[in-house]
Each structure stands twice: as structure tokens, then as C-alpha cells.
Symmetry: C2
Subunit: 354 residues, 2 copies
């Protein structure tokens, strides 16, 4: 561990993003602060989701819960991708059936009414969480703090559909019938997210991840029109000297070359593409993150252990971050999370993979 | 139109499956007999879904509804992919929230209890629908009758999950923890489906389509273990001299080479891969079917028309069947279905595409 007086070396996660050779990969889990943890559920008994996102003291406590319990190599700030749309002027409700916009976007006028929020003024609580988290992690300099945002396409999906969707008929309807209006919305979102992530970086986020949960529902030609330019715009305009960018697209089989074109430092791979195939597809210009299937964590330790070990071997010790292929699921047994993290950490005891 | 006394030439759909050069592609729509039609909804007012499947008179009427209304080039028998699992010994309930197995498969003993049903004895009503449909279509020799079944993987998904699913945790749990039990189930399903489709062919189905709705949720390596061998087993054992086999896998981006390895006559493409890309990927050994996004049918005629025309041009007049990329959605306006079918039919009036 680096002494606090010496110039601190970068956390393990950042070294992996830079493709430095390590004795083992870093490990963290998407949605690692959340409902599978009894400590989290206890807090949610007392506080609604949105209130929690906006109360830095408690959000910091929740962000730290998995770090305290399992000692992952990265903490991801507790927040939600729908915080920026709310700051743009949309009412968002977090109910039992998932997030919901009571007044979804329908017309060009609806899109024109959205503001591009000053991230400090409208989402200062997120930056406050980041500042406090860096203080919290001062004694753990090898644990990186990760900020994040949703991608314009995924945010537009929620803002137009009003919530989750199966067929995305309203979103695609706007894409087919009023592509210029959709582009105007995506442009506003890209500008908002760029400012938002840069504010996170300035507040102390050491890496940022862009989540495109619904990026996999388009054909390649549509992805090139409605997703890639906005990924590129955001990534190009981030203050990246010290801060790697991780790009995650769900259901991304066949899309990895387009993810690479966006120019992130790290490509976060879903379970549909193996890490070896991903490496073949995108080459060594990118670090990779992923991609254990979240449902594997429901299996017995005897089944889970060889799956985790195989993935550690596949990922290797250079340019690889151990993670899930999508978010951890609420019914996940905590013992399996501990087993997973411990297995990655123990892999440092065996000789490094060639 | 062929005179009823002369040796009838094959219906347009069959010619397209055989990659004959045509003046225009055939057109039909997955789920074309269904809830978007007021005639169908009127019948469902009086009769439950499963009863309808098992009442040949009415199933034939429903199968003919879109043919009478829009004159597609193929009729697909009105039935459901969960008919064979019921015949294997599982109780299935069709409720408002979709189909549901009250007693999903959990153990090896559950799988062992399933029978391999004689398709004539247990699902004779399906064969009766096919026989009557052929009589019904005797005066329309250019309209093909298509039979179908669900793939073992997709059927296993419903039988293990008990219904629809978001994360397929139970199905994947069996895949991880008891792959031998899952293989036993998939083997029984493959045998059942082979008998079932061969009985449909003997009853008069002129083409059969295998639907793998959930084939896209696996990695390539998993697909090779749990899906491909069963596709191959079924397709290899079908009586195919005169009867082409269409293979549909949903969310199949990146999976087309594996679909080709199954050896069907026609690869039915979802909206994620363009027909041109599909042709490049699988070459000219296969006819292609698809792949208009079902949500395009919600657009205005001005928007829909150029989309349909572009797809007609892209598909061409050899080895191509115009269809949707997945099933038609219940809120689809019938006028747009008429427009779509008419546009494909009118394309014969323009010179054939090179």
C-alpha cells in the first residue's frame, strides 16, 4: 500500500484501464451497492430511493457497504442514471415497478422545454457524494472511485417510453416518424451527460462508466445513426488525462466494433460475448471488463468457483477488470459475492498468467 | 394461377425457399392471425385461447382471417408453441399475463416423468387443422400452408421458468448446476418436436418453421452446447424432400453462422441484422426471411411505405421472403398491414431486381 505522504500510485482499477501488468485483475460488480445486501435493505426501510440518492451522508454509507463487506477494488457512487433527466426538468418517480416518468416526452415542444442543467447547481448532491467518498477512501488508496451516467439513447428510451418497455414502440416511433426531434433530444442529452461526467471527474471520480442499457435493441445502421455519434461526442469531450472511460452496452453481441469506434479506454462486455472473443474482435487497444453472468451467482459455490476461476484465467493480468456482465440481481446470496471477490484476490497468490 | 387439373406448381413461398427467381417475393407475417384483427378479437370474446387451439373449425377460421383480409402468400396454422409441452404431460394455463405452467420442471424426476407424445394421439387437433386448411386453400394453390413448433431451448425455458422471464435464472441455474438434466430435457423435446413437425408435414404442411424465441440469450459457446445440436437433430430428421424448414432465432445478431450450421432451408432474420448483412454472413446457400421491425407498423403510411419498399429492394426476387423480424404486435393498425402486403404484391409490376 502506498504511504499517504509519497506520491500515490494509481489504484489497481486505473492501472488495469491503462493496461499495466498486474499480479491479479481488479474486481468490482455493477450495482454492487444494492438490494442483495441486508445493510442496504435496512436503509431503504427508512428512506425512499430518490431521497437516498440526494442525501450524501447516506449515499456515501451505501456506496461503502460493499467495500466494507467484501473489499472490492472499486466503489461506484450510489446514484441512478435518471438523475440527469430529472435535472433537465422531467418529473421522475421511483416506484415498486421501477422508475417512471409521469409525463413522458411526446413532441418537439416537450424536447425543447428541457434545459441543459448546470451539474453543480442541479446535481450538486452527486458531486458531494464523490467528494465525501474520496475522503472516505483516503485510507484505501488502492480502491478506485467510479462515477457513471446513462447514455443518451438509454435515457431517451426512458424519457419517451415513460418507463421500462418491451418493444420500445414509442421510442422507435419517434425514430421512424421524427428522427430530427430524436436527434435534438439525444444532442441535449449528450451535452448534459458530458457536463455531468466532467463535473464528476472534477469532484474526484477516478474513472467513469457510460451505461447503455438499451443500446442493443438497434440494428447496426440505426446504432451508427442514433447511438455512436453521441458516445463519441461525450467521450471526446471528457477530461480524460487521468480518468479512464468505461463503455458498457447491454446485449452487445456483434456491436463491439462499434463500441470500439466510440473510443473508450475500457469496453465492458456483456455475457453474450466471451472475453477471449472480445479481445479478438477489438484487439489490444482497449482494456476489457466483465462478464460473468449475474445468474451464475445463484449457483452453489462448487459450481460458481470454477466459473470464476476460468474467467480470471481468460481475462488475464493485463487490461482486464473482473466484473459481471450486467448488474447484480437482488436475490443474489451474499456468500457468493464474498466467494467471487476472494477468488479474484487469491488469484494474485498463483503465478501471473502469461 | 395453376388450373386445378394440371400438376400444380409449388406455391410462391416454396419457390422462394428453393431460391427460384420470382417476379416478386412472397409475403406473410409472423403471428398474422391474432389480436390486431377485430375478427380475431370477436372470436376470443367467445372462446379461450387453448380451447381455440383445440377446436379445428374455429382455428381454421382464425388461420384464414388474415388470408381473407389481406391475401398473404402463406397461412400459418393457428396454434401455440406450448401445445407439445402440454402433450408431454405438463399443465399449461393461458392467462392474461401470458402462458404459465403452474408446476414448472425443477428436478431430474420431473424431466423423467415427461412422455414423448404420439403427435396423432395427443395433438391430433393440430393435424386436423392442417388437413382442413389444405382443403380450405385448395382454391388458392399459390398460398402455402406453414406449420411450426418451438425449439427445445425455448420450450425448456417456459417449462423451467414456469412462464416468461427477464433473467432466466432458473433455466440458467439448471444449465450451470445440472447440465445433464437440461440435456435430457432438451433431448426429449427434440424427439417430441421432430415427431410433431413430421406429423404436420404428413398432414399437409408445405413448409415448417422452428421458432427459437429465447435462442439469443446464450453466449456462442453455450449456444453450441444447448441449442445447436437440437436444431440439427430436428432438422436432420424432418421429412424434407418437399418441405422446406425455416429457422427463426430471436435476438440473433452474431448468431447467423450458428443458425446456418443447423442446416435449414431458410434463415428468418430478426431486425437487428440487415438482410444484406445476413446475405453476406450466410452466403447464398440459404433463403432469407424477414425482417421489418414490428413497431414500424405503428408509423404513418408515409413513413412505412419507403421502409417497406427499401426492404423489398434489399431482399430481391430470389431466395427472399418478406416478413417481420418478430411477431406482429396487438395494437398494429390493420390498414398498415394491408398497405404492407399490397406494396409487396405491387412490386411485381416493377421490373425484377437484378
Amino acid at each position: 500500500m502506498t504511504s499517504q505522504n509519497a506520491a500515490p500510485s494509481a489504484p489497481r482499477l486505473i492501472k488495469a484501464c491503462r493496461q499495466e501488468i498486474l499480479d491479479r485483475p481488479p474486481v468490482w460488480l455493477m450495482r454492487q451497492a444494492g438490494r442483495y445486501m441486508p445493510e442496504y435493505r435496512a436503509i431503504r426501510q427508512k428512506m425512499g430511493f430518490l431521497e437516498l440518492c440526494k442525501t450524501p451522508d447516506v449515499a456515501v454509507e451505501v456506496t461503502m457497504q460493499p467495500i466494507n463487506a467484501f473489499e472490492m477494488d472499486a466503489a461506484i457512487i450510489f446514484s441512478d442514471i435518471l438523475i440527469p433527466p430529472e435535472a433537465m426538468g422531467m418529473e421522475v418517480v421511483f416506484g415498486d415497478g421501477g422508475p417512471h416518468f409521469p409525463n413522458p416526452l411526446q413532441t418537439a415542444a416537450d424536447v425543447d422545454r428541457l434545459i441543459i442543467p448546470d451539474p453543480l447547481e442541479k446535481t450538486g448532491f452527486v458531486m458531494e457524494i464523490i467528494r465525501r467518498m474520496r475522503q472516505e477512501l483516503a485510507s484505501r488508496p488502492d480502491t478506485a472511485l467510479v462515477g457513471f451516467a446513462g447514455s443518451p439513447w438509454t435515457l431517451a428510451s426512458y424519457m419517451i417510453e415513460g418507463g421500462g418497455s418491451k418493444h420500445f414502440a414509442k421510442l422507435k416511433g419517434m425514430m421512424y416518424d421524427a428522427p430530427d426531434v430524436l436527434h435534438r433530444l439525444l444532442g441535449k442529452l449528450a451535452e448534459t451527460i458530458t457536463l455531468y461526467l466532467n463535473a464528476q471527474i472534477e469532484a474526484g471520480a477516478q474513472a467513469v462508466q457510460l451505461f447503455d442499457t438499451w443500446g442493443g435493441i438497434l440494428s447496426e445502421a440505426e446504432y451508427r445513426r442514433f447511438i455512436l455519434p453521441y458516445h463519441q461526442q461525450i467521450i471526446r469531450n471528457l477530461k480524460r488525462d487521468e480518468t479512464p472511460v468505461i463503455l458498457y452496452v447491454n446485449n452487445s453481441r456483434g456491436l463491439l466494433p462499434l463500441m470500439a469506434e466510440a473510443g473508450p479506454d475500457v469496453i465492458s462486455v456483456d455475457p453474450l460475448t466471451s472475453i477471449s472473443d472480445a479481445r479478438q474482435i477489438v484487439g489490444h487497444r482497449f482494456a476489457l471488463q466483465g462478464n460473468l453472468d449475474s445468474t451464475a451467482l445463484f449457483s452453489s459455490p462448487q459450481v460458481l468457483k470454477p466459473m470464476v476461476q476460468a474467467l480470471i484465467a481468460e481475462g488475464g493480468n493485463q487490461g482486464y477488470i473482473f466484473n459481471l456482465g450486467h448488474g447484480i440481481l437482488p436475490p443474489t446470496p451474499v456468500e457468493n459475492v464474498r466467494l467471487l471477490v476472494d477468488l479474484v484476490k487469491e488469484s494474485a497468490l498463483t503465478p501471473a498468467h502469461p
